[in-house]
């Protein structure tokens, strides 16, 4: 069925259809609406979830971890500082192999405090052991959330899943969206029946040991293996999802990449703007293309290298800083992925859009202009730059 929903409404609606066992709820802009909409579903008796109105995101994630360990399906939503407050617990959820689901509505991190979109919150959590799936628009936010549990709960994976969408741009903008029937969703998600859980009568369980050196490393290797296994599972679930929705998903989306010589690699809603720029350049005969990363964890390194193998120059666009003094996190992953290619394209990194700084079609076209120049001259210039900030003179 078709509807018009904001990204937050779409995720809340997915949650209603799933009817999870436990939800931890705490407000932070721009994800606040998700627990708000859901509270109304609870109040109206449309779901019978145990809705726990915690006193912090720290407790929200703690509740989710414990509830999932107890045998329940647990969910929460957050942004920015909320995700940062969960930092330690994100590791605990993943290492206890608890497939909690979290809707991250991406927002800049302090300081200074800023409520608008960039990816510094979820990028800061990229090494916590969570699967991360990013949406370009409301439809993808809805679809990704529905795919999260079948991915995370698979015995070979058993990892928590963070589905991300861009704050305000996606979370608050109303768009046309195709929703699945609730029965179809429930059948697709299935029951959560873990093998072991705290409340299992026949077999008590102990979770969260003090792990000493003779065991810790083995446990971490198992976790790493699970993250590797997640890649195949993500694709499997995408295939199943296509059958019920007609919508196709991969680890990333390739837009006009068949013969592309100049390409962008980026994440999230900017893909919409970038697609418009690619179309325009294609009309002018420029062989431009785009790769929109959907799955950042596990990172599709080999697949990305293959997709970029025949390009001449590539710009990675990072919507978070990272402060490595060596480029943003998406750049680091992409550059590392390309290393194994015999012939590598020129590669630059552009950090953009921090704290909600707008990016327009013309900005993207300029990036392609730079790439065209690099491809033609072989002069790469500065590898890592920022885009969209005022110059020093303008600031003065």
């Amino acid at each position: 069925m078709s509807d018009r929903l904001s990204g937050n409404e779409a995720v809340a609606y997915a949650l209603k259809q799933i009817n999870p066992d436990v939800m931890g709820a705490f407000p932070i802009t721009p994800s606040t609406e998700i627990p708000e909409y859901f509270a109304q579903y609870v109040a109206d008796g449309e779901v019978n979830t145990e809705y726990v109105t915690v006193e912090s995101e720290h407790s929200s994630m703690s509740v989710c971890i414990a509830a999932q360990a107890a045998g329940a399906r647990a969910v929460c939503a957050t942004s920015s500082a909320g995700l940062a407050l969960m930092y330690e617990l994100l590791y605990i959820a993943a290492s206890c192999r608890l497939p909690v689901t979290l809707a991250c509505v991406n927002r800049a991190l302090s300081g200074p405090i800023n409520i608008n979109n960039d990816h510094s919150d979820s990028m800061g959590a990229r090494d916590t052991g969570w699967i991360q799936i990013y949406a370009e628009n409301n439809q993808e936010a809805y679809d990704n959330f529905l795919m999260a549990m079948p991915i995370g709960e698979t015995p070979s994976v058993r990892l928590p899943v963070m589905t991300c969408m861009d704050g305000f741009i996606t979370s608050h903008a109303v768009e046309n969206i195709e929703l699945l029937e609730t029965e179809v969703v429930r059948k697709f998600i299935g029951e959560y029946n873990p093998e072991n859980y705290l409340l299992k009568k026949e077999n008590p369980l102990a979770v969260g040991p003090y792990d000493v050196s003779p065991y810790y490393m083995e446990h971490k290797v198992l976790e790493a293996e699970a993250m590797k296994a997640a890649k195949a599972r993500i694709l499997e679930v995408a295939t199943e999802f296509e059958k019920i929705s007609g919508r196709r998903y991969g680890l990333f989306e390739e837009y006009r990449m068949e013969d592309a010589e100049l390409a962008l690699v980026l994440i999230g809603s900017t893909a919409g703007t970038a697609k418009a720029a690619v179309d325009k350049l294609r009309e002018d005969g420029v062989k431009a293309g785009l790769i929109k990363i959907r799955v950042f964890r596990p990172f599709p390194g080999e697949e990305l290298a293959r997709a970029l193998a025949n390009t001449k120059a590539v710009a990675v666009m990072d919507k978070s800083e990272g402060f490595s003094a060596n480029g943003g996190p998406l750049f680091a992953e992409t550059r590392s992925a390309l290393y194994d290619l015999k012939e590598r394209p020129y590669l630059i990194d552009i950090v953009y859009g921090l704290g909600g700084r707008d990016v327009k079609t013309e900005d993207i076209e300029k990036v392609f202009g730079r790439l065209a120049n690099i491809a033609a001259t072989g002069e790469i210039g500065p590898v890592y730059t920022h885009m969209g900030q005022r110059s020093k003179e303008e600031n003065a």
């Binding site: 066992d21 436990v22 931890g24 019978n48 979830t49 145990e50 726990v52 109105t53 915690v54 006193e55 912090s56 720290h58 407790s59 703690s62 509740v63 989710c64 971890i65 414990a66 509830a67 999932q68 360990a69 107890a70 045998g71 329940a72 647990a74 330690e88 617990l89 605990i92 206890c96 705290l198 409340l199 299992k200 009568k201 008590p204 369980l205 102990a206 979770v207 969260g208 040991p209 003090y210 792990d211 000493v212 065991y215």
Partner: protein, 312 residues
Amino acid sequence: MSTVYNLKREVEKPARFTGGHRLCAGCGAGIVVSGVLRALDNEDRAVVVNATSCLEVSTFMYPYTAYMDSYIHSAFENSAATCSGVEAAYHALKRRGKVEGTVKFITFGGDGGTYDIGFQSLSGAMERGHDMVYVCYDNEAYMNTGIQRSSSTPHFARTTTTPVGSVGQGKKQNKKDLTEILVAHNIPYAAQAAPIGNFKDLHTKSYKAIYTEGPCFLNVLSPCPRGWDYPTEKLAEIARLAVDTCVWPLYEVEEGVWRLTYIPKKKLPVEDFLRPQGRFRHMFEKGNEWMLEEAQAYVDQKWERLLERTGA
């Protein structure tokens, strides 16, 4: 359960907290945990929640657990929220016909994990009203990391972050009164207990806390021979002195009604509790008599207030 306490009968119950853990000899924590868990009726299951602490690292070192019931440790600062999550899952799964029988939820946190870093999580869980018991085993410092002060450490006590020196006199501040703060949450049951005598005090309060619906809180004094610096065999004696000097009064607050559960026949001077412990040794040096006087005055004042409140 019969209401008359019988230590022999209680001890004969199948143990839920087993030996073989790695707590120091003479540690109060293990005694507190077994005392609390023994109050569970045999037919009831429990999920035990634990904050990072001496207790946690000593009782669930992979791959061995000392608990017969299900157990979860998540972090240092979130044990009450963790317990909330398990309890929430229980209600959700029960509603959906996926869990049967009675399950009780009992959390153990040290004073650091309760008075300090886990305080917000505890306050939140109590306010939300989860059906759970939070037990603080109070050994008055961060023992697991090597005896650092907490807000539960008493005035003048020497810890590794409140050392005694030419200027330093041990901890500068008084102990936070956490039990009173929990009472102010208007929870159905809060009590202060200690592992003394035949454990009747701890048992009775544990039973009430476990079988009273809603959030309940127990603050149990848990002597630590290492951190308090006294001979391991003196556990019972030290706990007894804490109670008889009124340094650690035993009382309970049930639905807002305060009641002393033990009144010393003869209130002993605070010195008697302080003297056997190395952490207070400097208080007995010449010229430091004022410390003993201050400590006594503080205990007297708190005790008077408690007598007023309990109408004793």
